[in-house]
């Protein structure tokens, strides 16, 4: 019984904590609505579409294909990304490059973002630094699955 009473006190203390948070935050919200600027804010969250958090430099965002100086993709179609990809979402097809120093270039380079798990293995596997995941684009949702299949032109942008 006495123990239960002890619990009871703790229970009240608990709800006082939440109530305090509510009251304090509510106070700052009201101040904001009234147009009074305060140092502290009612919420610590970031209001996503309007405010955006800066991505860490190592963040893995949408892929891009790097190009050489002449605008051709750096990719030499070694297919190491295809090999290492755990979700089997990359499809590459080779074509002969007129430059004998390069030999191969991709005639098709397709990433199926429906399947991609953004593990970044392809970036690590690439010997030519041709694929990177540093575009900072994270809003890639589409209404149509087809729109998530990125080909070379889309990836080069």
């Amino acid at each position: 019984m006495i123990r239960a009473l002890g619990y009871f006190i703790e229970i009240i203390r608990g709800s006082l904590i939440t109530a305090r948070h509510f009251m304090a935050n509510m106070f700052f919200h009201i101040l904001k609505v009234l147009g009074i600027k305060t140092k502290r804010k009612g919420a610590v969250t970031i209001q996503y579409p309007e405010e955006k958090k800066e991505l860490a430099s190592r963040h893995r965002s949408l892929h891009r294909i790097m190009t050489r100086e002449d605008g051709q993709p750096r990719c030499v179609v070694c297919m190491l990304c295809v090999t290492v990809c755990p979700s089997e979402c990359i499809y590459v097809e080779a074509a002969e490059d007129p430059d004998p120093e390069i030999q191969k270039r991709p005639s098709q380079f397709v990433i199926d973002l429906n399947r991609c798990c953004f593990c970044g293995f392809c970036v690590e596997a690439c010997p030519e630094d041709a694929i990177r995941m540093d575009t900072g684009k994270v809003e890639i949702a589409q209404y149509d699955r087809q729109d998530l299949i990125y080909d070379l032109d889309k990836l080069k942008e």
């Binding site: 608990g14 709800s15 939440t18 109530a19 509510f22 509510m26 610590v44 969250t45």
Partner: protein
């Protein structure tokens, strides 16, 4: 004709009030309050023509979404009972609003209209009875889903509700002894009197222990955290797992509605219902002397406002509790009900009897 229309209008108004409040409490208050407790902002995106109104449209968005969601009935479930269950629980909670007095009376022309849909002699018993019947919805939902986890959830729910029903009822006995009536309107009227000439004769002051027992029991009746063992959506599987769309929405509405009903009951029984301290039919009569006369329609509005304010406060309070406490373990739940609340309520009855007989 008009005798028929007035109750109809009262029913409609009461229902609209209940539904709107439920919608807002169950959705908007719940979301916003939890967000503010969490140092967040909460749902604020639903908009009409770009007008956001701090998320006030969110309940409607949710409701519309709920209506258009796929209504999935599992195969091998008992289709009829499966559909019946949410309606049962919804109905028995919704119907209790009929017994709640929103205010005293208003006079329109020569007609005196009570601000209460159903003013019978045993409104309190009616409320208790209807709330007890809500169990059927839970059990039926669990059983008709043909899912053993749902069934277990339903059984847990039934056991919990029945256990707390006892404490719930017993906690009110002291109150009935003090305000010797089962009529809610007269209980409220009695609370308009003053104790020692200045304290409003509210239930909370006369029955503090009864109130505490009632509070816990009522919270348990609403099946919400920390008493949400029937559902336990975050971990354990509960009685409406197999529900979706509008039917699931009805269960959610029932939950929300129970908050409102419990709040109205608390207000009515322990916090003077529509009574405003020191406000009488002709105006304020301050205990330190002096009077402030008001027109009767202003008094009625004040009373209705006071009632709403109290109800809203208790809704807020319940949501606060829900976002504060973790869930009970089932044995703790049962211990609390049977070993603490029921003995306490009995003590309360005996104590009340002793004090009254003095």
């Amino acid at each position: 004709m008009i005798e028929f229309l007035i109750p109809l209008i009262k029913v409609i108004l009461a229902l609209v009030w209940l539904l709107l409040l439920t919608l807002y409490v169950a959705d908007w208050v719940e979301r916003k309050e939890s967000a503010i407790i969490h140092d967040r902002i909460g749902a604020n995106r639903a908009s009409i023509f770009g007008l956001r109104m701090i998320g006030l449209f969110q309940p409607f968005a949710d409701a519309i979404k709920m209506i258009f969601k796929e209504d999935f009935t599992p195969s091998f479930s008992r289709k009829f009972l499966h559909s019946l269950a949410p309606f049962l629980s919804f109905f028995f909670v919704a119907v209790t609003i009929a017994a709640i007095p929103f205010g005293d009376t208003i006079r329109i022309g020569s007609r005196i209209i009570k601000l209460q849909v159903l003013d019978i002699n045993v409104t309190l018993l009616f409320v208790l009875a209807m709330m007890s019947l809500g169990i059927y919805g839970v059990i039926l939902a669990g059983w008709a889903s043909n899912n053993r986890f749902s069934l277990l959830g339903g059984i847990r729910g039934a056991a919990q509700l029945i256990s707390y029903e006892v404490a719930f009822g017993l906690s009110l006995v002291g109150l009935i002894m003090i305000y010797p009536s089962l009529k809610l309107s007269s209980i409220v009227h009695s609370q308009g009197e003053l104790l020692f000439g200045f304290i409003p004769k509210w239930g909370i002051f006369l029955q503090p222990l009864g109130f505490i027992v009632f509070l816990f029991a009522a919270l348990a009746e609403t099946k919400r955290v920390p008493f949400d063992l029937p559902e336990g959506e975050s971990e354990i599987i509960g009685f409406y797992t197999e529900y979706s769309g509008l039917k699931w929405g009805l269960f959610m509405m029932t939950d929300g509605m129970e908050i409102v009903i419990v709040s109205t009951l608390m207000t009515t029984l322990f916090f003077g219902g529509w009574q405003v301290p020191w406000l009488q039919a002709d105006g304020f009569h301050w205990p330190w002397g002096g009077e402030w006369f008001l027109a009767s329609w202003i008094v009625v509005i004040l009373q209705v406002l006071a009632f709403n304010l109290k109800v809203f406060f208790f809704c807020w309070f319940q949501v606060l509790l829900r976002w504060t406490y973790p869930r009970f373990r089932y044995d703790q739940l049962m211990d609390l009900g049977w070993k603490l609340l029921i003995p306490l309520s009995l003590v309360n009855i005996v104590g009340t009897g002793i004090i009254m007989s003095l």
